[in-house]
């Protein structure tokens, strides 16, 4: 007798994916039933994408996956279930063709699946277009869509053939918060109405509450699974109000919270999902060192206002990247520049650095008005910059890379070597000094990139999305370093990020939306302005909902 439950279910048992000698994900097992939304949460490189690709049947794996009673062990065997699956790989608009319009995409994807274009199909297509808010844009080419619209289009293209198993790899990453809410609404509807099993990965912890069940990924393993509430409950006994009294290898402090495996004196605190990663690190007995930052070698006087600009604008063709932005960065301040992808954060930082010319507006850096490239020349030694995609020379060791950066700033070799040794110790990448740049874990790479930017002891740091894709733990460590730098060196930091939760670490935040500044205030003041907001995400959403 056929087991109906088994026929309906989706099973993954003992699945591992290996690339040459690297294990991308090892030994994952879970199951799902119709209408369930299963979330994969974890940092870049934790193995989420590899597992999704294995399930979608586009990469070789070991282990067994079965769906509707049909099991498969390789991409070839997976062919038979592909009529039931929809897969949306990671990357904004990745599966879209730049020059095709929205309508042409829908027609193409329908033909790919050999769908009959009957009344039912047309009605469903109309419904999808309506749901995604793309009805008015059917004639627009994909390259002219915003990131959020591209993701929504990719999603409805994957939904056209009414898949029973939907695999979505980070559909919301880098998308503006409003579009993210809309995407989730579509997913919820699909799961409910079509009974689709939805596997969705995300880098945003906050989205966990929208999933029926969560798998937490860390270092190629699934470290926990369950509902969001179950997961939070599981670490409840280990989370305390910040306690400075007691410290050993079984505890660590981060941002007003202490995590400890052994009981502490202070009161218990409501845990967050992020806490799972800290507790996991403690359980794995990982050494999470506190960072020590020493005073700078050369003490220079830092002006009270480090950077000031008025009416700065930038236009690329007909696209306005930045419009009349006023901003002020004070001495010893961490200023967060927040916004969705394409909001103009990177363009703004590049203009400050002189990597893009300023179309209009005035800029004063370290008390000096910037009129030409010449004005910048002598300031270069006072500014540190870490770009979005920090570029290292892959065939040089970390130490050689750092020496190269030092020589670019004309620091003599002796001083450079001693500083490199010091930073390596302080920032905890001593053991990696001899390894090649492409062998570094992402989190270490981040710390090392900041070391490169600090070698010449700048007065101000510009950081462009340094925490993007980095795991929770490494991000926490990174913010710790920034805090200490501000405290001990007294330098100012301008940092961009699309993680709204990081706003709390900034002294002041500036919100950008479509190239315009929509808010500029301290985090506390913003919470006062929107008392109903649960998190900074909600505040950000308020600004995005406003018209204009």
């Amino acid at each position: 007798m056929a087991d109906l439950h088994l026929m309906d279910a989706f099973h993954v048992s003992g699945v591992s994916v290996r690339y040459k000698d690297k294990t991308a994900i090892s030994d994952v097992s879970f199951e799902a039933t119709s209408g369930e939304i299963i979330g994969f949460i974890g940092a870049d490189g934790a193995g989420k994408s590899s597992l999704m690709q294995a399930i979608a049947g586009v990469v070789r794996f070991s282990g067994e996956i079965s769906y509707l009673g049909q099991s498969y062990h390789s991409p070839k065997e997976a062919e038979k279930i592909k009529i039931h699956t929809g897969f949306m790989p990671q990357g904004i608009g990745l599966v879209l063709y730049d020059t095709l319009t929205v309508d042409e995409h829908l027609r193409f994807f329908a033909d790919l699946r050999d769908l009959k274009k009957d009344a039912e199909f047309l009605a469903y297509k109309k419904q999808l277009l309506h749901m995604s808010g793309l009805s008015e844009f059917v004639d627009r080419q994909a390259m002219n869509l915003s990131g959020g619209m591209m993701q929504k289009l990719s999603l409805i293209c994957a939904l056209l053939h009414r898949p029973k198993l939907l695999i979505l790899d980070e559909p919301t990453t880098g998308v503006d918060p409003l579009s993210r809410l809309e995407l989730w609404e579509i997913l919820r509807n699909i799961a409910k109405e079509e009974g689709t099993i939805i596997l969705v990965s995300t880098a945003y912890m906050q989205e966990a509450s929208k999933m029926d069940r969560v798998l937490l990924f860390h270092n190629s393993k699934v470290i926990a699974s369950g509902t969001s509430a179950e997961l939070i409950d599981s670490i409840r006994p280990f989370v305390y109000e910040k306690s400075l009294l007691y410290k050993d290898e079984n505890s660590l402090n981060f941002d007003e919270t202490s995590y400890s495996l052994t009981p502490l004196q202070s009161a218990l605190k409501e845990p967050t999902l992020e806490g799972l990663f800290f507790v996991n690190a403690l359980k794995e007995n990982k050494n999470i060192a506190e960072f020590v930052i020493n005073k700078k070698e050369n003490d220079e006087v830092i002006p009270e206002v480090v950077m000031e600009c008025h009416g700065v604008s930038k236009q690329f063709g007909s696209f306005i990247a930045n419009k009349e932005i006023d901003m002020k960065l004070k001495k010893g301040e961490i200023l967060g520049l927040l916004g969705a992808n394409g909001a103009g954060k990177t363009t703004f930082i590049k203009m400050l650095l002189g990597l893009y010319s300023i179309d209009e507006g005035e800029l004063t850096l370290l008390g000096k008005p910037i009129k030409s490239g010449k004005d910048r020349q002598e300031l270069k030694s006072k500014i540190g910059y870490v770009s979005q995609h920090f570029a290292l020379y892959k065939d040089m060791s970390v130490k050689e890379n750092l020496l190269y950066f030092a020589s670019m700033h004309r620091i003599d070799k002796k001083a450079a070597l001693s500083r490199i040794a010091l930073y390596a110790k302080e920032l905890g990448f001593e053991e990696y000094l001899g390894s090649f740049a492409n062998e570094l874990p992402l989190g270490v790479n981040q710390r090392f990139s900041i070391a490169a930017a600090l070698l010449h002891e700048p007065l101000v740091l510009f950081l462009d999305e340094p925490t993007s894709g980095v795991d929770t733990l490494a991000r926490a460590q990174f913010w710790q370093i920034l805090g200490k730098l501000k405290e001990i060196w007294g330098i100012s930091i301008l940092i961009t990020t699309h993680y709204m939760s990081e706003a709390q670490f900034c002294d002041r935040v500036v919100l950008l939306k479509n190239g315009q500044k929509v808010a500029d205030d301290t985090v506390i003041n913003l919470y006062k302005r929107f008392p109903q907001a649960q998190s900074f995400e909600d505040i950000f959403l308020e600004f995005y909902k406003e018209k204009g």
Binding site: Y97, T99, L100, D111
Partner: protein
């Protein structure tokens, strides 16, 4: 496994490719490149030398010497100037690049010839460009020999005839260019169409959907075949009208063999797209793999029959030689299907198509690597 091929899926893909090609303006390259290469090279690689400026110093002023001069005057290869300058002055003109050749006829030219004695003509050639110089030298020898045999039949000259008289350069080069272009251009376009999807990420639409490998291959190759089929006619027009190359053979044979040849080119592009992950790599690889053999073994630079050893083997490995043989036949000779060699070569070309497409279908995988 499903073995049938669905028309609607292929149609969707082909339509998408064509739309993209037009909107990205890549279509311009599809038609510009083959014609440009043909026209540029067709005019550019002129191997023969016409209108070389020859200064003749006639110290004899006899019947024979004026007959010799008139031979030069009637040749399209020479522009004759009779001068009475001294030898030194005439040589100075070469130095100043006002003249290419100086021919000095000695005063006893006719007398010696009639007496049956040896007579020496002085020839000076500007050899700044070695190839051009040796060509000019051959032409000069040719004219003198032909003059010697017609005007003074009692004189027999014991030299080989080096003069390439009737063969026009265009006739030798332009068909070869068609063989070059039709190997390179479709291969590049095919490689680009597939690798573009890999680079962008849209290849997942193929990997993750139930489209068959065969459907994908047909969908990718068909648009290129369609677009480049038009080039068969365009290039034919350039060859026959612009370069005045005669066409003596069967047009059907020309068309058929060209289509087969394009299929070979497509298959090469497809094989490259299986290895390459980036468009730039795909283009460079295709150019290296196709252009070099297409040039070397086209028969343009060196006849295959005169190749020996490894170069002979290599020439027979690449499909260029077989196609070019058919091309030269259709343009210049016109044996067509009557020649068993041509039928054999056509079969060999078909063999290439089957083998290369088979390899492609074998190595193409619906998974990431």
């Amino acid at each position: 496994m499903k073995s049938f091929v669905r028309f609607s899926v292929i149609k969707a893909f082909v339509l998408k490719e064509l739309t993209e090609l037009v909107r990205t303006k890549l279509i311009i390259m599809v038609y510009m490149m083959p014609s440009m290469v043909t026209i540029l090279f067709g005019y550019g690689i002129a191997m023969d030398v016409t209108h070389s400026r020859i200064s003749i110093i006639d110290n004899d002023n006899s019947k024979y010497s004026s007959e010799l001069i008139s031979k030069f005057s009637h040749s399209k290869y020479f522009d004759v100037t009779l001068t009475h300058e001294s030898e030194a002055e005439a040589l100075e003109a070469i130095k100043k690049a006002q003249s290419d050749i100086v021919l000095i006829i000695p005063s006893s030219f006719e007398k010696n010839l009639l007496k049956g004695q040896k007579s020496e003509l002085g020839v000076f050639i500007d050899a700044a460009f070695a190839n051009r110089a040796s060509t000019m030298q051959n032409y000069v020898q040719g004219v003198i020999q032909s003059a010697a045999t017609t005007s003074a039949p009692m004189i027999t000259l014991n030299t080989r005839t080096l003069f390439n008289q009737a063969m026009r350069d265009e006739d030798a080069i332009v068909p070869g260019l068609i063989g070059l272009v039709l190997l390179v251009a479709p291969a590049i376009l095919t490689a680009l169409l597939i690798v573009k999807e890999k680079e962008k990420g849209t290849i997942f639409n193929f990997y993750a959907s139930p489209i068959g490998k065969l459907e994908f291959l047909i969908a990718k190759l068909l648009p290129v075949l369609m677009l480049h089929s038009l080039n068969i006619f365009i290039l034919f027009i350039w060859a026959t009208y612009l370069f005045d190359v005669p066409f003596r053979g069967s047009f059907f044979l020309y068309w058929l063999s060209s289509e087969i040849y394009i299929l070979i080119s497509l298959s090469i592009g497809m094989l490259i797209s299986i290895i390459a992950k980036r468009q730039i790599v795909a283009v460079v690889l295709t150019v290296i793999i196709t252009i070099l053999p297409a040039f070397l073994y086209s028969g343009m630079l060196m006849p295959i029959s005169s190749m020996q050893g490894i170069s002979w083997v290599e020439a027979h490995i690449f499909p260029v030689m077989y196609y070019n043989h058919i091309l030269y036949d259709t343009f210049l000779i016109g044996q067509g299907f009557d020649s068993p060699k041509i039928v054999l070569y056509l079969c060999i070309l078909i063999g290439y198509v089957v083998a290369l497409l088979g390899l492609g279908a074998l190595f193409l995988k619906k998974e990431m690597r």
